[in-house]
Every structure is written in structure tokens, then in C-alpha cells.
């Protein structure tokens, strides 16, 4: 258990290091607290023994360890109000009612990336409350059709299908079947219904029913699949901890790997902080994320920055966005 003084020293070192990115020495602290630098040094030694602080070399000032950051965000961090300016910038997005949710998310995270200099990720999927409204098929060429799917929440998706050996009549019949039988089904359950309710029926009257079934299956898999987008990637370049090209390459490659990013999904309803090795992204970054849920969509938004990150500000911003989206 830390004493009050140890806590304030740790807090100072973390905030100061976040601000200046230079190891913090005892002198800087003793100016603000009312005691000598020697006293601070003794305390710092103890904090180092506890694994909360680190030195970059024998005679350097102290830097927070991952454990130190963790202690800070768990016990010491104070959430201040968002600045009026920041709120104002974000409001312009939320007040634009003609935007689709995914646009709102991307734009507001662009703003956040802008004001924080960190990088954001939006991972969204169609929510369970989003139900199939209708499917439509337009022939465009021999054996080539376009399927257009609309949900009751106004989400539209289309996909080109190639169905050789199936007549247009058969396709239309199948479409009617889908519209009659599974309209109203939550979008994430459509694939299953397609398999158990549609497939057996068309198997009876369509010769190449496998082809047709697979084509529709692909369409619905597509529409219910997750979508991930990275915003403000270049901000990585703004932080001195990412100043060598191979590190940059490393992080950029990870940010480009959409499949991997889909794993950042957060179930938990809080705002969660993963510092360094606590996240799977990269040991040199911190990730702050939260999920969101509306009738149309659900997903996760995440902010990525160096471990020396302005934790309280980011938490505040995510909290604000989450509340705005969820209404």
C-alpha cells in the first residue's frame, strides 16, 4: 500500500512524463512538494522497488513502468471536464442528422484523432436489432445478377452473384421465398435461417440449388460481417516513441491487418484501458476502447497511442462519444 506522499509523487511523475516525455528527476518534484530532493529520491527508490517506476540508465530521472501507468489509471487519474472547444467540434458531427451512423463514428473519431494526435479504430457490425426488410435481384448479364439487400434500419448492401446453370425463373422464385419466409429476421441470424428454411425447399425444384444457395449465402455473410476502419493513422508519426522507421512499419502493418483488428472487439460496457503488454497490438502502445450499441449497429471504438498517453482526456472523449451515439 502506498502512502499519500508516494501516491502524489507517482502521480506527478506520470503526468509530468506524459507532458514532457523526459525522465523526471527529483528536483522537479521537490519544487512542487515541500521537501528536499533527497527525500523525494528516497521515496522514488521505494517506488522503483515496488516496480512502479523505472530508470533509463543508472543516473537518469524516473519513468513510469507499465505497472506505474496501471496504478495511475486505476487509482490516481482524475477525469476533468472536456474543454468547450472540443465539445463544440464534436457537436457539429452529432447535429448533422442526415449522416449514417458509420459516418458519424468515423467523423467524430477523425476529430478525436485530430485533437489528441492519436489513432482511432472503428469496428462496427450490424446489430441484432437490424432486421431483413427485403431482397431484390437485378440481372445484368448472362449468369450475372446483382442482389440488393435492405434492412429495416436502412442499411443497404449489394453484391454481384454468378449463378451459371440457374434460370432467371428459379432465381426469382427463390427471392420470393426469401422475402416471404425470412423477412423480419435479425440480420445476424439470416444465414442460419437460409440454411435450414430455404435450402431444403429450393433443393426440391432447382437443379443447381447448391450454386444458388451459395450465392445467396455469400450475400448475407457479407452484409452481416464486421467492418473495420482506421482513422488518423499518420498520427503515429507524431510521437517520439515511434521515431524509427522499422517501428513505424511494424505498427502500420498491424493497423493495415483488418483481420487482426477485428479481434479488438470489446464486449464489456466500460471504457477499458490496455497498457503495453496488456494489449495484443504492440508492447509500446496503449489502447483505450469501449463498445457501443444502437438499433442499427454495434461495435467497438478504440484509441491507440504511446503508453505515455493522455489517459484522462481520451477516456473523457470516448465516454462523450459513447453517450452521444447511444443517445
Amino acid at each position: 500500500m502506498l502512502t499519500k506522499r508516494q501516491e502524489s509523487i507517482l502521480k506527478m511523475i506520470v503526468t509530468e512524463y506524459i507532458k514532457l516525455a523526459k525522465p523526471v528527476g527529483s528536483k522537479l518534484i521537490c519544487d512542487k512538494l515541500n521537501c528536499s530532493s533527497a527525500t523525494i529520491r528516497n521515496e522514488m527508490m521505494q517506488l522503483e522497488d515496488l516496480g512502479l517506476l523505472e530508470k533509463t540508465h543508472t543516473s537518469s530521472g524516473r519513468v513510469p513502468s507499465e505497472k506505474g501507468y496501471r496504478y495511475y489509471v486505476d487509482h490516481l487519474m482524475e477525469l476533468k471536464e472536456l474543454s468547450g472547444e472540443d465539445v463544440y467540434k464534436l457537436e457539429t458531427v452529432f447535429q448533422n442528422s442526415s449522416l449514417e451512423l458509420s459516418d458519424v463514428l468515423n467523423r467524430s473519431l477523425e476529430i478525436i484523432s485530430d485533437i489528441t494526435s492519436y489513432t482511432s479504430i472503428v469496428l462496427d457490425a450490424k446489430s441484432h436489432d437490424n432486421k431483413l426488410k427485403e431482397i431484390n435481384v437485378v440481372p445484368v448479364d448472362k449468369d450475372i445478377l446483382i442482389a440488393i439487400v435492405v434492412t429495416d434500419q436502412g442499411v443497404v448492401e449489394h453484391k454481384t452473384m454468378e449463378v451459371s446453370g440457374v434460370s432467371l425463373e428459379e432465381v426469382k422464385k427463390t427471392v420470393k421465398l426469401i422475402n416471404d419466409l425470412i423477412v423480419g429476421t435479425p440480420i445476424d441470424e439470416v444465414s442460419a435461417k437460409l440454411e435450414f428454411e430455404i435450402k431444403p425447399v429450393i433443393a426440391k425444384y432447382v437443379k443447381q440449388h447448391e450454386i444458388l444457395y451459395n450465392a445467396f449465402y455469400d450475400v448475407f455473410t457479407d452484409i452481416s460481417s464486421k467492418n473495420v476502419n482506421v482513422v488518423g493513422k499518420n498520427n503515429i508519426l507524431k510521437h517520439q516513441e515511434f521515431s524509427n522507421v522499422s517501428k513505424i512499419n511494424d505498427i502500420f502493418s498491424k493497423l493495415d491487418n483488418k483481420e487482426m483488428l477485428k479481434n479488438i472487439e470489446e464486449k464489456n460496457n466500460d471504457i477499458n484501458i490496455y497498457i503495453g503488454h496488456e494489449n495484443k497490438m504492440d508492447p509500446d502502445v496503449a489502447v483505450i476502447k469501449t463498445n457501443y450499441k444502437t438499433s442499427k449497429d454495434e461495435g467497438t471504438i478504440a484509441i491507440i497511442g504511446p503508453k505515455r498517453m493522455d489517459y484522462d482526456k481520451v477516456v473523457n472523449l470516448l465516454d462523450y462519444i459513447k453517450k452521444q451515439i447511444e443517445g
Copy 2:
């Protein structure tokens, strides 16, 4: 006018520098040509006087100047055959008939970015041969509609429209009007027809006809507008000429500026090379681009790399792709 020997020296310096990224000295050349280093030095001096070569410092080897590269690509470059391996990689994309053109383009440029370590840009627009086939409107909420536009070439686009103060009847009438009057119009002319043939008619029977007209206008502007995509951006990081963070930031920002990228459009039907200051992108890069045109789409593909670029290989690859796409 250059002598034969000067040309081969220039050619050697360019190819060698492209390969090794180090200033080329007289010794390296005189080993391959049959004469002494002093002779080469004399020739190099003349080439430098002509502005074709440069030195990085008084006693360094020579580096091609922009003019030197220009002379190389105009007069000295030989186009070799593509390697079987490269062709094989690309063929897998072109043989997949179920892909839409934009996917084919993006995938094949991904492959090119991969094998060359350069960055690609695809700028595509709907071609004039792409005609409006039908428009469909699906209501999803009060005052919120989704317009779905399909062209005869199988391009589908949708957009959410907000039309307060307009009844569903009025919308449907307008849709019928569009379907009756302007179906078959090339997609890049729809906006104009909308203004002169539809707008005057609906003005008569729809009170809020401005709102309705604007909504449709937006939909069609959207569908006929250009789309730009950057592939292999991280490859920028692989070249030593882009090793400092601010340069990287600079180029990345430009590659993110979609509006600016739309200006790279190439009208000319050849494969065009823009070296250094010849392009608007960045004085340290070279851009090689060409246009393409099919019944569905037309646009430009471009490869961006350092001035020290493998010009012949890239020209070959672009040529191959262009031929494949245009069939």
C-alpha cells in the same frame, strides 16, 4: 548529342544507382567498360556539365540528376519481358471472373505494389458507356428514404436521402418519371438531364420540389463521381530516400488527400513517367501512370516510388495490366 560511350556510361550509372542506391564511382564503370578510370572521369565530368549527373559532395561518385533519369527513360531504357513468376501472380486475379473491375484493379495493384515495393493509386470513375438502368426508392423511416441506382453494366450505388415535407406519393411519381424519361442515359450525363427534363416537370406538382430535386441530384452526383484508392502505402517506408519521419509524414499526408489525388487523372493513352519536379506529388518521387477504359469504368492507375525507381519493370507491369483490363 551524347556519344555512344557517354550513353552507356549514363545508362550504367542510372541502372547501378537504381540497384545499389549508392553514388557510382568511376572505378565501377571502368571495370565493365574497357578503359581506365581516368577516361571515365573525364566523360563523367562532361555528363555533369550537361546536367545529366550530379555529385553529392565534391569527392563523391555520381548520381543521376532528374534530367539524367529523363534521358534514361527517353533513350536508354530497355523493356525486358516480365518474369514468369510475376505474370503468374497477376494471372490469378484476371482469371477470377466473378470479381468486379474495381476489385480486379485493386488486387492487381496490390500484387504490383508487393513485387515492386512501390505504392499504387487507382482512380476510377464510371465510364460514359455505363448507362442508367433503373432507380428504386425504399422508405426506411419518416422522411428518410434510400435510393438505389443500378446501371446496365451492373454498377449499384445507394444513398440515404432526407426529404422532409414531401409525400411518398410524390417521391414515387418522381421515381417513375426518372425511370420513364432518363433510363438509358450515360451515367455522366444523368445530372444534366435531371436538371433540364425532370426538375421542370416536378416543379409543377411537388410543393417542396427543390428538396426532392436536390436529394436525387446528390444521389446521381455520388454515383458518377470519381473514386480513388491507395494501395501499398507502407511501401514508402521501405526506401532509404524516405527515412526521416517528417518526409514520411509529408508523403503520407499527400496520399491521404483524396481530393488532391483525383488530379492525377491521365487523359493520354500512353504510359507516362513524371520524375521529381515533373510531378505535383513530391519532388522526391517519380510517378508512372496510365489510363484505362472499359465499358463500365475508366480511370487512371499510377505507381509511385522514389526517383531511383525501377522504371522499366514498372512500365512493363502497367502495360501488362492495362492490356489485361482493356481486354
